[in-house]
Each structure stands twice: as structure tokens, then as C-alpha cells.
């Protein structure tokens, strides 16, 4: 008679993991099989994948339902413009600086908004994002309310057209998949165990010694920094910034929330499913304009009524399956 063993992966998850690796390799090789337009679409998908995964870490695991993450996308974008315009930096080198700035800014912001609980926390983060937007509109050296474009010389510094496209694509690839990988590693670590405990029951995890306040702050700061880095890169691809675009609630928060909720909040796979579905829907329905948004809103409501754990949640409850396992399972020996 043998002892039960504890495993992390299952055969299903190993097969899925190899499929994911193939997919990642295909995405990495995209410049060799996709044209410029497709490459731009893939870049955008990668951006949303990262934004959705970060919001999921924040809301789905740490219980911090922020509706003001566009504050950090915009902050990153404006930091990149400041680096380029005032210090003549290479746009891509401004990305780590944007991350540092956002981490520094997010600490006092957290000190303020963490005083609000639950849904009031959500609206508090929104106010902060509004303040950022209004402040950006006041900075006349950064274009004020109407915004400005990246000087051509700064983009030329990144090389010729093809070279530039490749450089930006691989930065987006590295940053987005790096974010996903980081989140996965965080969730597999001790902190991840604590986060999962917080997700499942905050009071019980606190009574078992999980230092909730510190972990939440850590996650908030990490996500702020990564979001700002992504924001900096997003506005390198957009070439133009204005307060309304940089701090657009629809683009950087509303869509992201819908992606996570529809895909499945509180799982790693959910945001990925959600992102793919979102882009699929967009391809077919974006021409409908307002009606498209009506459909997204209705879908989010329907998901909350029928399957609050989202599409991936439905799969998990049915087949107990994970592409990116973060937990452990006990395997009983076969007699």
C-alpha cells in the first residue's frame, strides 16, 4: 500500500501547458507570419491580456475592486511623454521609469483610498483617476487639454520603419507575457496562497495570520507599476496623447472589467478567455457602436446572474481543470 501523493499539475494541465507553449511561440514568431495590421491587432490583444490579468489579480484575488486603473495607464503615458520631451530619452527606456513613478505615486493613493471599503473603495479610485486627468489637462507643457504627439525625431531614434515595428512588438510581447508570468508566479508563491485565502474568505484568512493589509498594499503597488509601464508602451504605439485618451475610463477600465467578469474572475484562465472573446465580439460588432456597448453591458449583467464565476468558472466546476495550476491536489494511490 502506497501513500497518497501531492501534485500540482495533472495530465490535462500538462497537455494544455504544451499547447500554450506552442501558442506563445507562434505569437513570438508573429512578425514573420503576420502583416502590419495583424501585428498591431496582436499587440493590442497582448495589452488587454495584461491589463485584464492585472485587474483580475487586484479584484479577483486581493478583493480590491478598483474602477480607477485608467489612472495608472494615463500616468504611464504621460511619464513617457515627459521623458521624451523634457529629457530627450528613448521612448522605450521611459517604460521602467514610468513603473517606478507609478509605484511611488500609488503608495500615498493607497493610503487614501484604502480608507474606503468595498464599493466605496471602487468610486474612490475613480475620483483619483479623475484628479489625474484634470491635473494632466492643467499641464500646458504637456499639451494641456488638447494633448500632443511624439516628436518624429524620438521615433526615428528607434530605427527605421521595420526595425521600429519589430522593437515595439517585442517590447509589447515581453512586457505583456512577462506580466502574465509574474502574476502566475506570484499566485504560486506564499503570497499567492495568502491571496487565494483572502479571495475565499477574508475574515477566516485574517484569523489564520494572513497579513491582509500588507498583502493588499503590495498587490496594489505592483499592479499600479505594471499598469503604468504598459500605459507608457501603449502610448508609444499610439504616438499621440491627450487627457481624455490617456485617462479613458471606457478603454482602460470598463472594457477590462467586462473582459475579466465575462471570462471568469478569480482564475488565471478567465481573463485570457475574456480577452479572446472581447476581440472576437469587437471584430463582428464594433460597427454597431453604442449597441455594441449595450451588448457588453448586458452580457456582464447576465454573467453575474447566471454564472458569477464567468465562462471559465463554468468549465472549472464541470471538469475541475486548470491550464495554469496554482494550487495542489492530493492524488490517492490506485489499489
Amino acid at each position: 500500500m502506497s501513500e497518497p501523493t501531492i501534485v500540482r499539475s495533472t495530465r490535462g494541465s500538462r497537455i494544455a501547458a504544451s499547447a500554450v507553449l506552442v501558442l506563445v511561440a507562434a505569437i513570438a514568431a508573429a512578425p514573420w507570419w503576420a502583416n502590419s495590421a495583424d501585428l498591431r491587432l496582436i499587440t493590442e490583444i497582448l495589452f488587454f491580456l495584461a491589463l485584464a490579468s492585472m485587474w483580475n489579480l487586484l479584484a479577483g484575488y486581493a478583493g480590491l475592486i478598483s474602477v480607477g486603473q485608467h489612472a495608472y495607464v494615463g500616468l504611464g503615458g504621460y511619464m513617457m511623454f515627459s521623458c521624451v520631451l523634457f529629457w530627450g530619452m528613448n521612448p522605450l527606456w521611459s517604460i521602467p521609469l514610468a513603473g517606478l513613478l507609478a509605484a511611488a505615486v500609488s503608495v500615498p493613493v493607497a493610503w487614501l483610498v484604502f480608507r474606503l471599503k468595498g464599493a466605496y473603495f471602487a468610486i474612490g479610485t475613480w475620483v483619483v483617476a479623475e484628479v489625474f486627468r484634470l491635473l494632466a489637462a492643467q499641464m500646458s507643457s504637456l499639451g494641456g487639454g488638447s494633448g500632443l504627439s511624439i516628436p518624429v525625431s524620438a521615433m526615428r531614434a528607434l530605427g527605421g520603419r521595420t526595425e521600429r515595428e519589430l522593437l515595439i512588438y517585442f517590447t509589447a510581447f515581453a512586457l505583456s507575457l512577462g506580466t502574465l508570468l509574474l502574476i502566475w508566479l506570484v499566485l504560486r508563491s506564499r503570497v499567492g496562497l495568502a491571496l487565494t485565502a483572502i479571495r475565499d474568505n477574508e475574515v477566516a484568512s485574517s484569523s489564520l495570520g494572513v497579513r491582509i493589509g500588507r498583502i493588499k498594499l503590495g498587490v496594489y503597488v505592483l499592479v499600479a507599476a505594471l499598469t503604468a509601464m504598459l500605459g507608457a508602451l501603449i502610448f508609444v504605439t499610439k504616438l499621440r496623447i491627450s487627457p481624455d485618451a490617456a485617462f479613458s475610463m471606457n478603454d482602460w477600465t470598463v472594457f477590462v472589467i467586462f473582459i475579466v467578469v465575462i471570462g471568469g474572475i478569480g482564475t488565471l484562465e478567465g481573463p485570457i478567455i475574456g480577452t479572446l472573446l472581447y476581440f472576437l465580439l469587437r471584430e463582428f460588432l464594433a460597427d454597431l457602436g453604442a449597441v455594441y456597448l449595450l451588448i457588453l453591458g448586458a452580457m456582464a449583467i447576465a454573467i453575474m446572474l447566471v454564472a458569477p464565476r464567468g465562462l471559465w468558472g463554468l468549465i472549472v466546476t464541470k471538469w475541475d481543470f486548470a491550464v495554469f495550476p496554482v494550487g495542489y491536489r492530493v492524488r490517492m494511490p490506485r489499489d
Binding site: A119, E130, P308
Partner: protein
């Protein structure tokens, strides 16, 4: 004289902000629900009033007779048909559902009424004013908005503490399960609360629409003003909410007087400053 004027106008617009906030405060008090689509329903009420006026030619203030009961019914139906199903331990579902509603109302209004900004024409009363002292005039409309806000808050206060319905609200708020054992149907009580909140939303919407231009996307900032008034005043305190609205209005007025670009920023900064010093607001309810 300038400054007296700024402060008086700020106080008056604070009444409107208190109207935005009262419904928010009410439903949070009764069922711990924060309705993200609150501001969009305020704008929705403005559009419904607009449509009613187009069809009947009523004066905007008279249109309240139709819009208020309509919104009360809508609130009751919304609560029983949708929101009751997601209320519970987890705060995420109600948040996402009202967030979804917000997007639906905004884009629904956009589809029905286009993006053109509209205004309700209240006639001569809009420009008439009361001369308080040289250089300080009080418009009848802002004054009427303020007086209505005070009356509505006094009315809600009375309803909350002096009537059977108010007792049901307080009982459900304090302990929903015991209230149910005592024979209250929580779902219905929540329905009444939402109906009442939406009635206030309707009043706020019509006053907003007489005061300024409105378009389908101005709801979220009304939600934020209302929310700031609630937090500044202290959760669960209706008179505090009025004070919160006034502080917000005065802060915005002072900001705008220094530099027009600072109007909204000054309001938000006042809110954040109060949150930093008094996290529970200025007049938290003593529990």
C-alpha cells in the same frame, strides 16, 4: 463682495449635489448597495422629462408629476426584477451589475436621443433673481433647488425615523434576518427603498436639466459628486450629506473663482483632504 457671492452660489449648488447624494445614501443605508448607475439614472430622468415635455408641452417643474412616479416604479421594478438577485455577501456582483446598467443607460440614451446636449426650458423663472445686497443676487431656480433639497432631506429624515416604512428600512438595515422573522419581506422593503431613491433621482434629474445642458455621458460625474457629498458628510447621516454637498459646492466655487480649470479639481481635492483627515466623514452617524 465677490467672495460672498462665490460662497452663496456654492451653497446653493450644494443643494443640487445633496439631491444627487440623497438616493445614494438611502439605498446604501438600507441594503449596503452602491449603485454605480445612479448618476446615469439622474441623466435618464432628465431625458424622460425632456421627452414628456416634448409630448405634452408641460412646464419642466410640472413634468415632475409624471417623472417622479415613473422613476419610483422603475426603481421598484429594477430592485425586484434584478438587483435583489445579486445582493448578498459578495460585493462584486451588485457592483458589476450596476456598472453594466450604467453602460446600458448611457448608450441607450445615446441611441434614443443622440449625443446632442439638451436643456429643459423653464421660462422666465430661470433668469429672475432676488437681490440680497448690492452685487449679490440669488437666482430663483438655484434657490428653489436648494429649498427642495432641504425639504426632501427633511422628508426622508421624517420617513426614516417617524413612519412604519422607515421602521422597516431601519430594521432591515440593522439585521435583515431578524426583520424577516418579524414578518417583513426584505425583498419588498429593498424595492420600496429603491423606488424612493429613484423618486429623488427624478427630482435631481429635472433640476439638473433646468440648470445646465445635459448629454448622455454626464452621469458618472454626477455619481462622483453625490458620492463625495456622502463621504464628506459621513455615511448614514442625511443632514451630513447636505453639509457634504454644500462643502463640495463651495469648494468648486472657490476653485472656479481662482481659475476656471480648477473648478472640478478643487472639489475633488476638498474631498480627498477630508478623507485624509476624517476618514469617516465630518459627521459620521454614531452607532
Amino acid at each position: 463682495m465677490d467672495w460672498i457671492n462665490v460662497i452663496i452660489q456654492g451653497v446653493l449648488i450644494g443643494g443640487l449635489y445633496a439631491l444627487f447624494a440623497a438616493g445614494l445614501s438611502l439605498i446604501f443605508g438600507v441594503m449596503r448597495l452602491v449603485n454605480i448607475s445612479h448618476g446615469d439614472f439622474i441623466v435618464g430622468a432628465a431625458y424622460v422629462a425632456f421627452a414628456v415635455i416634448q409630448m405634452t408641452g408641460l412646464h419642466p417643474l410640472v413634468s415632475l408629476v409624471i417623472v417622479v412616479p415613473l422613476f419610483a416604479l422603475l426603481g421598484y421594478a429594477l430592485q425586484l426584477g434584478l438587483l435583489n438577485r445579486v445582493l448578498g455577501g459578495d460585493i462584486l456582483p451588485p457592483l458589476i451589475v450596476t456598472f453594466g446598467l450604467s453602460i446600458i443607460v448611457q448608450n441607450g440614451l445615446l441611441t434614443l436621443f443622440t449625443a446632442d446636449s439638451r436643456r429643459l426650458d423653464a421660462g422666465a423663472i430661470e433668469v429672475e433673481s432676488l437681490n440680497l445686497m448690492p452685487g449679490v443676487d440669488i437666482g430663483y431656480m438655484p434657490l428653489m433647488t436648494f429649498v427642495s433639497a432641504v425639504a426632501i432631506i427633511a422628508g426622508l429624515q421624517f420617513l426614516f425615523y417617524r413612519t412604519t416604512m422607515g421602521r422597516a428600512f431601519r430594521a432591515t438595515s440593522d439585521d435583515g434576518e431578524i426583520a424577516q422573522i418579524m414578518g417583513l419581506d426584505n425583498r419588498k422593503v429593498f424595492g420600496w427603498a429603491m423606488g424612493l431613491a429613484m423618486a429623488v433621482v427624478a427630482v435631481a434629474g429635472v433640476f439638473l436639466a433646468i440648470r445646465a445642458n445635459f448629454d448622455p455621458f454626464m452621469g458618472p460625474s454626477r455619481l462622483i459628486f453625490g458620492f463625495e457629498a456622502v463621504i464628506i458628510g459621513g455615511l448614514g447621516n442625511l443632514w451630513g450629506t447636505l453639509a457634504g454637498g454644500i462643502i463640495l459646492g463651495v469648494a468648486q466655487g472657490i476653485g472656479a473663482h481662482i481659475d476656471p480649470g480648477w473648478q472640478l479639481l478643487a472639489g475633488h481635492i476638498a474631498f480627498l483632504a477630508i478623507l485624509a483627515v476624517r476618514p469617516r466623514g465630518l459627521f459620521p452617524r454614531v452607532d
